[in-house]
């Protein structure tokens, strides 16, 4: 199966890889796993006083598409409000990365991860 150029770019130069303090009040952490392939994804957001996401980090153990989906998502969510990022759909990610049908579940994973991160942040407030 051939990966799109965008997937390869994110895979070779992943953006925002790393970790933030998961116990910090301003940080929301989303952890999700894909039982179809055993991929694990962690996505973290740091939210400012104005409710805007200042920073995002991810760590993903998985295939190229899973890494690209989370890498792209961290780029997208920076500078957005929590409401805005919750409106991001997995289909937006799949379309941007031109994921083949068998890899669409990777984008589902990324959507779930950002939703979980927002929920975690909100539960701390």
């Amino acid at each position: 199966m051939a990966y799109s150029e965008k997937v390869i770019d994110h895979y070779e130069n992943p953006r925002n890889v790393g970790a933030m303090d998961k116990d910090a009040k301003t940080v929301g952490t989303g952890m999700v796993g894909a039982p179809a392939c055993g991929d694990v994804m962690k996505l973290q957001i740091k939210v400012g006083d104005d409710g805007i996401i200042e920073d995002a980090k991810f760590k993903t153990y998985g295939c190229g598409s899973a890494i690209a989906s989370s890498s792209l998502l961290t780029e997208w969510v920076k500078g957005k409000s929590l409401d805005e990022v919750q409106a991001i759909k997995n289909t937006d990610i799949a379309e941007e990365l031109e994921l083949p049908p068998v890899k669409v579940h990777c984008s589902v994973l990324a959507e779930d991860a950002i939703k979980a991160a927002v929920a975690d942040y909100q539960s701390k407030q």
Partner: protein
């Protein structure tokens, strides 16, 4: 002609349960393979040859399914009407996933250990111990009729399958470097 409506356990003459007799599975498999081998249908007409191919396909898929403990567990649940959707099923058990992350990180770090081979052995043992515990958990939940919990255990098995593959790959790499 083979009865395609029977389930995989019936096909191999096994009791419909998670714990199966591996030697009976392979004996039944070999007997079915011999009986329905496509070579026997070389002089048959197109229709018969097509059926012969379908038959071997059915037998092979049944064998693969029952051979893997994870696929066998999954199949048992589908027989009970539990659906699996690989496109949308996700695991949200935070503690479980955090632990998965930790094992992945430990695996990544093996090459920096003073004795990498000893370290990977330790991790591989931990992984297989936890994978076994998950199987026991599945059996227990099935016996209690808690099918949703049993499905959860099956979904988690895939993560351990990946960890096993990863630890095997690292072990092979380390051994290649040494010998």
């Amino acid at each position: 002609m083979l009865d395609f409506t029977q389930n995989y356990f019936e096909l191999f003459d096994l009791a419909e349960q998670f714990e199966i007799d591996d030697s009976q599975l392979s004996a039944s498999f070999r007997a079915l393979q011999a009986k329905y081998h496509p070579d026997k249908f070389i002089n048959a007409n197109d229709q018969e040859r097509r059926v012969a191919l379908q038959t071997t396909g059915f037998i092979n898929e049944a064998h693969e399914t029952l051979l893997s403990s994870r696929l066998r567990a999954r199949y048992l649940l589908t027989l009970k009407g539990i659906d699996f959707d690989d496109e949308i099923d996700t695991t949200h058990d935070g503690a479980f996933l955090m632990h998965q992350m930790e094992i992945r990180e430990a695996l990544e770090d093996v090459k920096n250990a003073t004795d990498p081979l000893a370290r990977i052995d330790d991790i591989a043992q931990e992984i297989s111990g936890e994978a076994d515990a998950l199987k026991d958990d599945f059996i227990e939940k099935m016996e209690e009729g808690k099918l949703t919990c049993a499905k959860d255990a099956v979904l988690k098995m895939k993560f351990f399958e990946r960890l096993c593959e990863e630890s095997r790959r690292i072990t092979e790499e380390l051994e290649d470097e040494l010998f």
